[in-house]
């Protein structure tokens, strides 16, 4: 453990010096984090006591107007902590983001109108054709990013989620 960390540090030093050896850089990139996307829909059912309850079931099929719950699960498969974590998900084509639905324990959530620049909702502004500016609406977001302000420990999993409506 201490030895591999040492090697990594050396690799970083090489990169910082500008003479990055690609072989060493690849050694550092072991694909430690596995990322999985799951599509589900919320179903209402009657439980054993006869009460109405909801549960998530796989979204085998959807129709316009349906709300899909997208869940992204990250799993650190390495024995090393991972830092600077940001999970990004473009709102899929034919879908519209549901306002306030993005969720991620401990994560700072930012949004994008153009898919490349991200900011908090209050900082997103749309310029109308007549030159006036207004705050962007949630349905105009084209991508969501969850930024984790802490490292992810070895073998740790984390989950983020949002909902979007089929157009």
């Amino acid at each position: 453990m201490s030895k591999s960390t040492h090697v990594l540090r050396l690799a970083m030093l090489a990169a910082a010096l500008g003479g990055a050896s690609s072989a060493l850089a690849q050694t550092a990139d072991r694909g430690c984090i596995e990322l999985k996307t799951v599509a589900e829909i919320q179903e209402t059912y009657t439980d054993a006591r006869g009460n109405e309850a909801t549960r998530l079931v796989p979204a085998a099929k959807v129709v316009p107007g349906d709300e899909v719950v997208w869940t992204i699960v990250a799993n650190n498969t390495c024995t090393t902590p991972a830092g600077d974590i940001a999970i990004t998900n473009p709102v899929p084509q034919h879908m519209r983001y549901v306002g306030s639905s993005a969720f991620g324990p401990g994560a700072q959530i930012v949004f994008s109108l153009d898919g490349s620049t991200f900011a908090a909702p209050e900082a997103l502004v749309v310029a109308e054709a007549d030159g006036t500016r207004r705050p962007a609406r949630a349905d105009e977001y084209s991508a969501i990013r969850w930024v984790l302000p802490r490292p992810m420990g070895p073998s740790e999993s984390l989950m983020v989620r949002y909902r979007a409506t089929v157009l």
Binding site: A11, A15, D29, L35, A39, I87, P90, P92, L113, V126
Partner: protein, 331 residues
């Protein structure tokens, strides 16, 4: 790397996008059946200071066919005389699902809530093929299973339900007739899934309409006759009354309702004669100028083909003559 990400975020705190660059276009009806919706997430992270980017799996959901239909009655209550034949009600059927769908049409004239039952004409249902809004020789009869209307998503068709009126009905009685459009793929409780029965073999899901729509229209009996008498006066550019190019023709039409009952929602329509041009702003009802646009007042002028129209409302014997004026110039 950490500092780099942070500074990047700071730089982006105020992001401006143009309104035109908004996300996916809004569909009138919805995403087409069979469309694959795919999502893939990306994670950026660093281990020991080395940045890495990894993609998730691509997860796809398939858009099923949504079976939905709406119908709207286009004709106001139709005034009829007892014993009249081939009186048409106009309906507009719209496929509000997300795929091409065929519909079966049925009519029913024995309904509750009215005073008499109109008698279905034979044929009972026509397509308003010439878009006249009424039964005319160019209209195609509907034959179930043979020419069921195939409507694209958001497509619509105008349909006429045609009835004869029994003889001897007193004035003021109402009779109803109802048109039903049923999705050929299936009907049932909203949310019901019909596996594999949608377009291209995708699942079909019954929408909020239950896969069918039914709307009734009604007839009102009245022995009322609406007549229109048209007069014209020509004024040529030389102070005479010769119908030569440049001359103006002033038309005056007097519409009168006589008899008992009411002619409901009466509209006066007159095509502008060939080789003449409507004089903009010349339309008047009982001396009051009407604008040419379709707006709050009763009159309008439209092209293709050129015509003037004036809504006269419900006309009865007591309404009295309605005088309409407009002018054209000879080309």
């Amino acid at each position: 790397m950490l500092t780099k990400l942070t500074s990047l975020r700071r730089a982006l705190l105020l992001t401006l996008a143009l309104g035109a660059a908004s996300p996916a276009a809004v569909h009138a009806v919805g995403t087409a059946a069979g469309t694959n919706i795919t999502s893939m997430a990306t994670i950026d992270y660093s281990i020991g200071g080395t940045a890495t980017t990894t993609n998730s799996n691509a997860t796809t959901v398939v858009v099923a066919e949504l079976l939905n239909v709406t119908m709207a009655l286009q004709s106001p209550t139709v005034s009829v005389a007892a014993g009249a034949s081939n009186k048409a009600l106009l309906f507009l059927i719209t496929n509000t699902g997300n795929s091409l769908e065929a519909f079966t049409l049925t009519g029913e004239s024995v309904l509750v809530g009215d005073n008499f039952d109109p008698t279905p004409a034979a044929p009972f249902i026509y397509f308003d093929s010439d878009a006249s809004g009424d039964l005319s020789p160019g209209d195609t009869p509907y034959v179930a299973g043979s020419n069921d209307p195939q409507l694209a998503a958001d497509g619509s068709v105008a349909v006429l339900l045609v009835n004869d009126m029994p003889a001897g009905l007193p004035d003021g009685e109402y009779g109803r007739s109802e048109l039903t459009a049923t999705s050929n793929t299936g009907t049932g409780t909203p949310g019901t899934v019909l596996p594999g029965q949608g377009s291209g073999g995708v699942d079909a899901v019954i929408g909020t309409s239950g896969g069918e729509a039914a709307v009734f229209g009604q007839y009102l009996v009245g022995d009322i006759l609406v007549s229109a008498v048209k007069a014209q006066a020509v004024q040529d550019p030389f102070g005479g009354s010769q119908p030569i190019p440049g001359a103006t023709i002033a038309y005056q039409v007097v519409v009168t309702a006589t008899g008992s009952g009411a002619a409901l929602g009466a509209t006066f329509r007159d095509p502008i004669p060939a080789s003449t041009t409507y004089v903009a702003g010349s339309l008047r009802l009982n001396g009051t100028p009407l604008t040419d646009s379709v707006d709050g007042d009763a009159g309008s002028f439209a092209l293709g083909p050129a015509r003037v129209a004036v809504s006269l409302g419900d006309l009865t014997n007591a309404t009295g003559p309605q005088t309409i004026d407009f002018r054209v110039t000879i080309n």
